[in-house]
């Protein structure tokens, strides 16, 4: 399909995973400089526990806190992702781990949950339980799912408990089991995302605590929240799956990864003074050939050399030894670097370098104890590690204007000139965004730039659709799409925005509402490639939140006015000023004069007033 130059690396990882499958703990770090002075650091930690010891709650390297949650929630396979930032595929190429270890912006969770009933039903295998309708099983799986999200929210300090029925979906074709499960097991896939969730140090802390060495030794000692959350893009993942080599020979495997793209210049700033200051005049690299070059004008010279960096500079720490828990740690190549072989690299004493035949990879075996640092001096760049092109580019935006309606536009671009791309497109929409599926339209733009409207059936092979129910569940749309070679496909559909109830608005309603990114799955079940679009912000019609108070104040005023005047009319007598004076005066003459005035008024017919 496309030359995957990163492939050898991942083959290497896959091979090492096979060789070390017997070992209980394995960790590795791969560093790869990317264009625009970025650095991709991929951390990988893997622990195994035998299925028997896991079932007996006998945990060694497998984190007990997570193991107990999984057992309690009957979860057979778990995938949890914390991601921030945007992967810049234009300049960084395709994603690490083929996007398999990546998640939506925010938090994404999917799990396969055993919907089978608890022991009571297994015991009495005769009827009511074994014959139960699928609905019951589904309900049970959902209840376990809620238990799982609640427990994980406590473990990972994230608001995972907000994954309720409105955010839960059951994808049909976009996700497949990564582990080996017994054929008889009746597993339910549930998927939920929180696109607006913040990922910060409090999520990293429990993540590191799951590791056997707790981030105190080994490559995990590099992970520092201050650098990690300053990255251009970062993704943390936790995957738990059973791996079976035989019918009775099963392992429960937990794999944790952290992938970060660090901006080298930004990471090198000292932590106590991170604000960039202007470069002093005498340190500026100016193009002196420009005619306007002078003391106060400078045309910046493009750097031809690659900037130098070291681990201690960009992570603020050095690797402190090797996590001593792995059995074969002493002979393991823990840290790999992807730079051309001619690039000079200095490492701490004691580390053994191995160069791989691909010409771009070198790996280091670390000393069991003692700090490890890696220094890349500044050097003129002659060759670069080739980055592989992404197989597909996808972009998803909300179009339209006004607060009542809008539209979604998804653009798929196939860069290949020869091959069509087939993939699954999966999106979940919140219930307050109501799509009109009949407005789904497709246009194809070839390399010649001519747009052609085509019937959607020409591109969409299959459609799985579950409409939303207000306040109960969101829309789920899965499309099997095919984009022809050298063309760009644009899908559009219209939607309507619902009006929420007053109490349903979050405290920062005017910020907009997050719409989860779409997930794109390419390839088959064996080697899938995943991509995710960016998350969207949907502005909804928001009321003026002081309105209830205005209404209360206005209503009170109206009531007070009405009540006051009616009360006045009922209890007061209205008389003219002369009458009042006469009535209040106590003398006989005055009273008489008053009477006279009253009689005169009556004769003249002016007695309309209430007396």
């Amino acid at each position: 399909m496309i030359v995957l130059s990163l492939f050898p690396l991942f083959l290497l990882v896959a091979l090492s995973s096979l060789t070390y499958a017997t070992s209980d703990y394995h960790e590795s770090l791969t560093l790869q400089p990317l264009p625009q002075s970025s650095l991709l650091a991929s951390f990988n930690f893997r622990s195994n526990a035998s299925q028997e010891s896991f079932d007996e709650r006998n945990f060694r390297h497998f984190p007990r806190a997570l193991g107990q949650i999984l057992q309690h929630a009957h979860t057979k396979e778990l995938h949890l992702r914390f991601t921030t930032g945007r992967w810049d595929a234009e300049s960084w190429g395709s994603r690490p781990w083929y996007g398999v270890k990546e998640g939506n912006t925010g938090v994404e969770l999917w799990a396969w949950i055993d919907g089978a009933d608890d022991q009571e039903c297994v015991q009495s295998s005769s009827d009511p339980c074994s014959l139960d309708a699928y609905a019951d099983e589904d309900k049970r799986a959902f209840a376990k799912w809620i238990t799982l999200t609640q427990s994980l929210s406590g473990l990972f300090c994230a608001s995972l408990n907000f994954i309720d029925s409105t955010r839960t979906t059951r994808p049909v074709a976009s996700f497949s089991l990564a582990g080996d499960h017994p054929a008889s097991s009746n597993l339910h896939l549930l998927h939920g995302t929180l696109p607006g969730e913040v990922v910060c140090t409090e999520n990293l802390t429990p993540f590191l605590k799951l590791l056997p060495c707790k981030g105190k030794a080994g490559v995990a000692s590099l992970l520092d929240g201050h650098k990690l959350f300053d990255a251009s893009w970062q993704s943390m993942s936790v995957d738990v799956r059973p791996v079976c080599s035989g019918p009775d020979d099963c392992l429960v495997q937990i794999e944790q990864t952290v992938d970060i793209v660090l901006d080298l210049d930004r990471s090198k700033r000292p932590r106590d003074n991170p604000i960039p200051r202007p470069v002093p005049n005498d340190q500026l690299a100016c193009d002196t050939s420009k005619p306007y070059h002078s003391d106060d004008t400078c045309y910046p010279l493009e750097k031809t050399s690659e900037g130098g960096w070291s681990l201690s500079e960009i992570f603020g720490r050095t690797v402190s030894g090797v996590c001593p828990l792995g059995d074969s740690q002493s002979s393991e190549e823990t840290i790999c670097l992807r730079v051309p072989h001619e690039r000079g690299v200095a490492v701490s004493e004691g580390a053994v370098e191995t160069r791989k035949p691909d010409g771009f990879t070198r790996c280091y075996t670390l000393q069991p104890s003692g700090a490890f640092d890696l220094v890349m001096p500044e050097q003129e760049a002659t060759t670069h590690v080739p980055l592989d092109e992404p197989v597909l580019r996808a972009e998803r935006t909300i179009v339209g204007h006004g607060v009542e309606r809008g539209g979604m536009r998804i653009i798929f671009d196939n860069p290949s000139d020869t091959d069509a791309v087939d993939f699954m497109y999966f999106e979940t929409l919140p219930w307050f965004l109501r799509p009109y599926v009949h407005t789904l339209q497709a246009t194809i733009t070839g390399r010649d730039g001519i747009r052609r409207q085509v019937p959607t059936s020409q591109l969409i092979k299959e459609t799985f659709y579950r409409p939303a129910i207000d306040r109960e569940r969101g829309t789920q749309l899965e499309l099997a799409l095919s984009v022809p070679a050298a063309s760009t496909v644009t899908l559009t559909y219209d939607f309507e925005k619902a009006i929420l109830r007053y109490t349903e608005y979050p405290p920062d309603a005017n910020r907009g509402f997050n719409v989860a990114p779409a997930v794109i799955k390419l390839g088959g079940h064996e080697n899938p490639i995943y991509m995710r679009t960016t998350s969207l912000l949907l502005p909804l019609p928001t009321p003026d939140f002081s309105m209830p108070y205005n209404v209360i104040i206005l209503t009170s005023t109206v009531i007070a006015l009405a009540f006051g005047s009616i009360f006045n009319l009922l209890v007061r007598r209205f008389v003219s000023a002369e009458e009042a004076a006469a009535l209040t005066s106590q003398t006989l003459k005055g009273r008489l004069a008053g009477k006279v005035v009253a009689i005169r008024d009556r004769i003249k017919g002016k007695s309309a007033k209430v007396e």
Binding site: D55, E56, T84, Q119, V122, Q123, S125, Y134, A135, E137, D138, I146, T147, Q150, S151, S153, G154, L155, C157, S159, N161, F162, R170, V172, P182, A183, S184, N186, V198, V199, C200, T201, E202, T205, D224, G225, H226, K227, L228, F229, D230, P247, R271, D272, P274, I275, S457, E462, T463, F464, Y465, R466, Q476, L477, E478, Y505, P506, P507, D508, F545
Partner: protein, 403 residues
């Protein structure tokens, strides 16, 4: 005669001394630290809470016994030039976020409902331990709140508010449910002292930053952070805690803490309420600061031979019984699982039977949409319409003829 008389006179004093010693015993410490403000310009409220979090952690309360509520994210906020960091002082000496922090309630979870549910433990059974206040009749609880408030209310996230009565009732219920032994309530907000006026449950000491109609002010701003970083009252409380209470063995009392309030520095009149505490101010002042901020663990020894309900022996027997029960269940479960896997492996028909419920699945899972011939549908629609029209016509004709 006279020595006896002296002893008699001293007896009540000794008795009260013993009584006070006995009542000051607590077996655990809990802290509930709440910031109630969202948005970047309220950075100082989160810094207030995080400073307190650092202090109670320094004095020994573990993360599992601290409930931290942060309604917004300041550390990883894009506006923060110091990523992953929160400072409460312009000298930026202490990074409050650090490397090891556990936030129990964050973002939209910080609501009045969740706060009251937390205090009164009216939570769903699925809610994990880290999000529960597991205090009991032997726990000293520190409740610290900060945000924007007014006369007898405190705003939560600019969208709702908790009233002084709500808070008083929540504490009242805590007392009835034996969820605290002694409670120290601290609040830093405008007109803070009005928030504790309605408390009625015993054993509460309350202190606030400002009187009715007084504002609580921020202490200073950091020019690089760009906003105020701490409030005045919290700043001076922390100054006392950080400089005077240097270890968990500190003998400084709450009296010392409250005497350290300096109105000229705080720019408002802090208040203290003692009357709910047994022995009022006199006794309350003697409580040490670490009774609430530290983790002093006095162990309650029970008579192990006793068999009355609630005794240790009875509990142990019950636990042993539970363990036995679960083990038996596990064994049965494993056996049944093996059976079912064997069955599935033996014949394919069994597999098909187990798969048959999948057909019922369709009403839950997304339906697969298929292309339909529109003419059929149109025909059906037209015929239905035609039938309706015919019925209407016959109806109208019959109706006319009958008249």
């Amino acid at each position: 005669m006279s020595p006896y008389f002296g002893l008699l006179r001293a007896l009540p004093f000794l008795l009260t001394l013993f009584a006070s010693l006995a009542s000051s015993e607590h077996t655990s410490n809990w802290a509930v630290l709440v910031s109630t403000s969202r948005f970047w310009f309220n950075y100082r409220h989160l810094a207030n809470v995080l400073s307190l979090y650092r202090t109670v952690k320094r004095l020994g309360i573990p993360d599992s016994q601290i409930i931290l509520m942060l309604p917004d994210d300041m550390a990883c906020n894009p506006r923060n030039v110091f990523p992953g960091t929160v400072y409460s002082n312009a000298d930026r000496a202490v990074d409050l976020y650090g490397d090891n922090i556990e936030v129990d309630y964050r973002g939209y979870e910080v609501t009045v409902e969740n706060f009251i549910r937390l205090l009164t433990d009216r939570l769903d059974e699925d809610v994990p331990r880290s999000k529960r206040l597991g205090s009991d009749a032997g726990s000293n609880v520190l409740v610290y709140m900060t945000g924007h408030g007014g006369d007898q209310f405190l705003k939560f996230q600019d969208s709702e508010e908790i009233g002084a009565w709500d808070l008083a009732d929540a504490f009242g219920q805590m007392w009835e449910k034996k969820r605290y032994h002694e409670l120290l309530f601290m609040i830093d907000t405008c007109q803070a002292n009005t928030m504790y006026t309605h408390f009625y449950s015993p054993n509460i000491i309350a202190t606030g930053s400002s009187e009715l109609d007084q504002s609580s002010y921020s202490h200073h701003a950091d020019n690089d952070v760009g906003v105020a970083v701490i409030d005045r009252w919290t700043y001076y409380v922390l100054e006392f805690l950080e400089t005077q209470v240097t270890s968990a063995n500190s003998k400084l009392t709450l009296g010392d803490l409250f005497d350290s309030y300096d109105e000229t520095k705080i720019h408002s009149q802090p208040g203290v309420r003692w009357d709910l505490f047994p022995g009022a101010e006199q006794e309350g002042r003697l409580r040490t600061v670490v009774d609430f901020f530290g983790n002093v663990q006095n162990i309650e020894v029970e008579n192990t031979t006793a068999t009355d309900p609630g005794s240790l022996k009875e509990d142990l027997i019950e636990i042993a019984r539970l363990v036995e029960k679960w083990r038996a269940r596990d064994r049965e479960y494993l056996v049944s699982q093996n059976d079912s896997s064997l069955r599935a492996g033996n014949d394919n028909s069994g597999l098909q039977v187990s798969l048959s419920p999948h057909s019922a699945r369709k009403n839950f899972e997304p339906a697969k949409m298929s292309q339909e011939a529109p003419w059929e549908k149109r025909l059906v629609g037209a015929s239905v319409l035609g039938i309706c029209a015919a019925v209407w016509l016959t109806g109208s004709i019959l109706g006319r003829s009958s008249v």
